[in-house]
């Protein structure tokens, strides 16, 4: 897979569970557990540096400082034995030469920035005294404390209820505008993508199946897998049973000759099982990997309303 991101831009990576979204993000941070994991080939360029070639010590300087990450579950991603303030101050002092007082001041600013009332008091509290939405705000404060250039948000709203989701997304968008941070938004919720991203990349079984601007994908989704994802969203006119994509993602330990999605694809033909489709640009800013979705051939989408 391949994608690029400019400053202040947001890219959405979508796909169902097990399609490799989170692995992509941990790879960028160089946090794939090794052994057994290994980056076989390819490169991750960040401001001209190839992150895959940096030493552990150099990576540590980048993590939390230039590239930060927000994790899925705010209930488990804060250390229960330290106060929230300590955890923010720690990351600030790790990367910036600030004394305790200045770091504390910065932590209070960060809490204020993410909309936590009474930051001086909240600073002294432990994570269990915070609600889920508040904890995610704290996580965002920690991630942004050193003004990173890139923020990886790994399903930042999945564990939160819907009203809090909206608040957190709004907050992230506002902070992005203020700080000019680029965001990689990992999610399986296309609604989140429509709302917050400029570009979107649909992943299936570790590969890109479709890559387009949000407008393009929203107007003209092309890959059958994207169609499946769209059909399985709850819409205002959804009645009866929610459609789903039958089956599960393939086991990548086995060699698969054809398209990874073919066994689950209602449009699959013989060719799909024997030959892997390349990712080609079928329209400006719209790449798709399907034998039957090319610039001069289109599939007729069955069922499901057009987004």
């Amino acid at each position: 897979m391949s994608f690029d991101l400019k400053q202040g831009e947001t890219i959405g990576i979508v796909g169902e569970s097990g399609s490799g979204k989170s692995v992509t993000s941990t790879a960028i941070l160089g946090l794939i557990p090794s052994p057994p994991g290994k980056i076989e080939r390819g490169s991750i360029l960040f401001e001209g540096k190839d992150l895959t070639k940096l030493s552990q010590a150099q990576m540590r300087k980048i993590r939390g400082n230039e590239i930060s990450m927000i994790f899925q579950d705010p209930m488990t991603s804060l250390n229960p034995v330290f106060t929230v303030g300590n955890q923010i101050i720690e990351v600030i002092r790790l990367h910036q030469q600030l004394d305790k007082k200045a770091a504390r001041q910065r932590a209070i600013e960060m809490l204020k920035l993410v909309g936590i009332p009474e930051p001086e008091k909240r600073l002294e509290q432990y994570p269990h005294e915070f609600s889920g939405g508040m904890r995610q705000r704290v996580m965002i404060a920690i991630a942004l404390a050193c003004n990173p250039k890139l923020l990886i948000a790994d399903e930042p709203t999945t564990a939160l209820d819907v009203t809090v989701q909206a608040q957190i997304l709004d907050l992230m968008k506002k902070l992005q505008d203020d700080l000019q941070t680029s965001i990689i938004m990992i999610t399986h919720d296309l609604g989140v993508v429509w709302e917050s991203c400029q570009k979107v990349l649909v992943m299936y079984a570790g590969n890109t199946v479709e890559y387009a601007t949000v407008e393009e994908l929203y107007e003209k989704p092309l890959h059958p897998y994207t169609w499946g994802l769209l059909d399985s969203q709850i819409k205002s006119d959804t009645t009866g049973k929610l459609p789903s994509i039958p089956g599960n993602p393939p086991d990548l330990r086995e060699d698969i000759a054809g398209c990874y999605f073919a066994p689950r694809c209602p449009y699959a033909k013989d060719k799909c099982f024997s030959e892997k489709p390349p990712l080609v640009e079928v329209a400006p800013n719209h790449l798709v990997a399907c034998h039957f979705q090319t610039s001069d051939h289109r599939l007729e989408r069955k069922g499901g309303s057009q987004a």
Binding site: A57, R60, R63, N79, V81, L94, E129
Partner: protein, 302 residues
């Protein structure tokens, strides 16, 4: 299983700004501990021991080594000898008071030594896994294979008698227990998401191990240490009973017990009171340790 101390009081996860101020975590552990009557009994016993040890010269009615051969083996209560005298006419109460010092010193320092080394080894084995884990834990299994007292005796035989060597021997014998319990904790804690978060924020290994994993392992370490101070006190008494521990004339509960066994029929008070001192102190540490475990995390099994 989450072994870090989590308050069990019905603590609301959300806190309205004007909600009554909730007790901090330490307070709720404390309040649960204070409510536990048995733990309080244990704490009182430990407090008395500490007072005896600190103020031994003030509390003791006689010098611990002052002999009065004319009054040897006198019954308790006679001539101002609260618990009677031993076979050299030394005041038994004073000797037991001074013996508290030895027991506490050995108990605390031996567990401190074993706890520190064991915790360090457990952290390394648990965090790095693989080769480190295999080497460290097989060594620990090797130490564990010896019966505790046999290991202490053989170490004492090699090291020679004396207070420092007693601490060393009992400390070494306590390393594997700590290493195992800490390793188990580390294996659980290092998979927690907040550790991954810390790594994603650029912390290095030593910071993750000592600043993030260790504090999350403290509850079981504290409980295990408290309970094993009792074990160390028994070990010291056993070694002194066998003549391998603290050397005479220094008063130690084990050596008083040893002297007493020769006069068990004639004057049973020597063995009885020194034995009671051992029993009470062990009981005290065990009750307190039990209470501490329940207060920190009722689900925890040490």
């Amino acid at each position: 299983m989450s072994n870090h101390a989590q308050p069990l009081s019905p603590a609301p996860a959300t806190l309205a700004p004007n909600a009554p101020k909730k007790k901090s975590k330490e307070n709720s552990v404390w309040s649960r501990l204070l409510k536990n009557k048995l733990a309080m009994v244990g704490m009182v016993i430990i407090a008395i021991m500490v007072i005896f040890a600190l103020f031994a010269p003030l509390i003791a009615t006689h010098g611990p080594n002052d002999m009065d051969l004319a009054n040897s083996l006198s019954e308790p209560g006679i001539d101002g000898h609260l618990l009677g005298t031993d076979n050299y006419g030394r005041d038994l109460f004073s000797r037991i008071v001074y013996g508290t010092r030895i027991s506490l010193i050995v108990g605390i320092f031996a567990i401190g030594l074993g706890g520190m080394i064991g915790t360090l080894l457990g952290l390394l084995a648990g965090y790095y896994g693989g080769k480190w884990d295999a080497i460290i834990m097989r060594l620990m299994d090797g130490l564990f294979a010896f019966p505790f007292i046999l290991l202490s005796i053989s170490l004492m035989t090699v090291l020679g008698a004396g207070l420092f060597n007693v601490i060393l021997a009992i400390g070494i014998a306590n390393i594997p227990g700590f290493a195992r319990i800490v390793r188990g904790q580390v294996l659980a804690v290092k998979e927690e998401e907040y550790i991954e978060v810390t790594r994603s924020l650029g912390a290095n290994d030593s910071r993750i191990i000592f600043h993030h994993i260790l504090p999350n392992c403290m509850a079981p370490i504290i409980v295990y240490a408290t309970m094993h101070v009792a074990g160390a006190i028994i070990s010291e008494a056993a070694l002194s009973f066998l003549g391998l521990g603290v050397q005479p004339p220094t008063a130690s509960w084990g050596s008083i017990l040893k002297d007493g066994k020769d006069f068990l029929v004639l004057s049973p008070h020597m063995a009885t009171f020194s034995g009671l001192a051992i029993l009470l102190s062990v009981l005290g540490f065990n009750l307190f340790g039990d209470g501490l475990r329940d207060a920190l995390d009722p689900k925890m099994k040490v």
